[in-house]
Symmetry: C2
Subunit: 411 residues, 2 copies
């Protein structure tokens, strides 16, 4: 008799974005004339930059001729892209990476979801709360958690609350943990850590043989100094940290699928007997066995992001979204709402008025202002009483949404 | 202390294709003038069909404008592609599939590698021998096997030998097994099962609550009648079988990455208590949590394969490769070699002369005829004494290779 992985049964039946969709559909049926503006999902709206379009057209043409056709590529990605990543994303920060320390992939969702596979199932996992749900769901599937409690927390996971009370700066866990997920600039809160704060985590990891999975998906949105773009800016991080980056949010690749993961050869994991193994080698085995590379056309598109023109065009996209972030942040502050994030990240995290429940505020915003956002509690129990808006919309819609909040919302 | 997944340490250090590359490099260093022809790896060489190129150019242009830009798509694939698959690949065979029974993905390697995740780790797994290494390696990683024995077999796996002695027709296992991997037309042997033979497996699975993972990557190469193109042509298969298909081998997508997996809602897995759960629901949860969809551009390219022109163009590609297969098969027979496959598949599986060891024949072929193939033992212990040649080369190279075998090889 074929047995299922019963860990899947621990996952709740209804998903955050499915529930949002259900409520929006119901609202639109009752209010067919309403012009609903979506500031909920973290998807980009600007088209791909012209340099990327040109590069992809050229690559499509290469695929049309036997002499320039590309079949299977290296699972880890083409060197032409890996070299650009090392040279433009890391060398200017004083970080030297070997070409075999960078793994090109189809997305940070896949990579942050899959990376836990190379670890034992009896390790202790810690993550900030609220958090990107993929980190936790994939650990549930792997059997590293107990059941989901009434308090919205899985047993055997160390939750590190981030809220206004601690300025969204996570505290080091009191118990020893083996694996830590950190995402800064943070999704969903849009907040950041300074180098000094991130150093505490690297030091903890070095002292405890802990590995940090550092999700830097929103690195390109950093505007302020002293906010690290890469965890490897912190001394010693190459011994303990894996870093995830993506072209989704800096170059509009959400529908084009390209990302990469950095696994320095010096990051170690251990057997029960204490023998050290390089995670680079384990991840390489995983990546080459279960993945077959990113489309050639897409990698050529990603390469173009690193040209002078490409960097200008992607910078302009980020500036556009960050102008939206400013519109949202300041517009909400003007009506007396407490807001966080939106300075070094495309996410604005607002405290609901009068400690309103996240879903109640979702309904209020939808019904009074016809705006869709994301209830903070969907990202974890510490997100209760918070709400996420994103800066990825069109500028005119974003401005209209904020005006509606200012004029229609009964705060 | 972060513990690694120690199951990875059971995997052997050197891989088949790495060892081939090492030997070829050494040979070329000693013989720089030699014109080496590669008939080893299963990668295509013809460029993408013109309809696919056109569709991808159009899709790139759509990504250049805000009004037609596509960000995140459905993780399961766009309906425009799913509908074509159901309508063209299955309906003509009398197989009706719901749109939510087809999951578009980035490759059959990923899907056949990842699918085991939704099953328990204590199930009994069976696979034919020789076999596509991904099936076994991913089960090793998941902890379903013991150590690799001196005989080339992992403990706790049921190997089903396929060789000339049984006409490459696998026998039903004597012990009860829970999960069976079948690939027909077969990689690496190029052999097939008739509907009657496949029915035995479906009947076994229905009787034992076993699931069959059916890899139909080479379905488009079938020429003869009575060879099933889909396992769902067999009565009752929708209760027990999952089917994997790809655009890699029928439309040249090895560097373009698009495939799909069919999971009928009626295929069940069970809890320890015997409660039945639909695998469709479990796989949907896995696929949406750890994967973020295939690039829009690539899915538009795949859709074009189903146009009248696309079907003509891909049929011409297959005919081209199958002409190579005929060249290889008949050429080898002419020098007295025993060959299998190559009739309904792009793979030719030859018995080495005088029961020569697979690697010894590899060296002989490389040194005497300057041809690279794949040692059969690389696919499992029952592949010892066999050798794989592929029909994916250029016609002129393939003809030249066979002429060399006929004139230079000291059989």
């Amino acid at each position: 008799m074929i047995r299922i992985n019963e860990n899947y049964l621990k996952l709740p039946g209804s998903y955050l974005f499915a529930e949002i969709a259900r409520r929006v559909t119901a609202f639109k049926e009752q209010n067919p004339a309403a012009d609903v503006i979506r500031l909920g999902i973290g998807d980009v709206t600007l088209p791909l930059p012209p340099v990327v379009i040109d590069a992809m057209h050229k690559a499509v043409d290469e695929m049309a001729k036997a002499e320039t056709f590309h079949g299977y590529g290296p699972e880890q990605g083409y060197n032409f892209l890996i070299q650009k990543i090392a040279q433009h994303d890391y060398a200017p920060l004083g970080i030297q990476l070997g070409e075999d320390e960078i793994f090109v992939s189809d997305g940070s969702k896949s990579d942050t979801g899959n990376f836990q596979e190379i670890f034992g199932t009896d390790i202790r996992v810690a993550m900030t709360d609220p958090v990107y749900p993929v980190y936790i769901d994939t650990n549930v599937m792997a059997g590293r958690t107990g059941a989901l409690g009434q308090d919205g927390r899985y047993a055997n996971i160390t939750y590190i609350p981030c809220h206004a009370g601690n300025h969204f700066i996570p505290e080091l866990p009191k118990e020893k943990v083996d694996l830590i997920y950190l995402c800064f600039p943070n999704n969903p809160t849009g907040t950041t850590l300074t180098k000094g704060e991130l150093k505490k985590w690297v030091d903890y990891a070095r002292a405890n043989k802990t590995v940090i999975l550092f999700d830097a998906a929103y690195e390109a949105y950093i505007q302020e100094k002293d906010i690290p773009h890469s965890i490897y800016e912190i001394e010693g991080a190459k011994e303990v940290a894996v870093e995830f980056r993506t072209f989704s949010k800096n170059a509009g690749f959400t529908g084009n699928r390209c990302a990469f993961t950095v696994v320095p050869k010096t990051v170690m994991g251990y057997t029960a007997g204490g023998e050290a193994y390089s995670l680079n080698k384990l991840w390489n085995r995983r990546h080459t066995t279960k993945f077959n590379g990113v489309p050639y056309i897409v990698q050529k598109g990603a390469e173009a992001v690193y040209t002078d023109e490409g960097r200008k065009q992607t910078r302009a996209m980020i500036d556009y979204y960050m102008a939206n972030a400013k519109t949202i942040r300041e517009g909400l502050q003007n009506v007396g709402l407490q807001v966080y994030g939106g300075v070094n990240a495309p996410y604005i995290w607002l405290k609901t008025p009068n400690n309103m429940d996240s879903w109640a505020f979702f309904d209020k915003l939808l019904h009074e202002a016809h705006i869709v956002g994301t209830p903070g509690v969907g990202f974890g129990p510490s997100g209760q009483g918070y709400f996420r808006l994103t800066a990825f919309g069109k500028a005119e819609n974003t401005a209209e949404a904020i005006q509606r909040i200012q004029t229609r919302l009964k705060v």
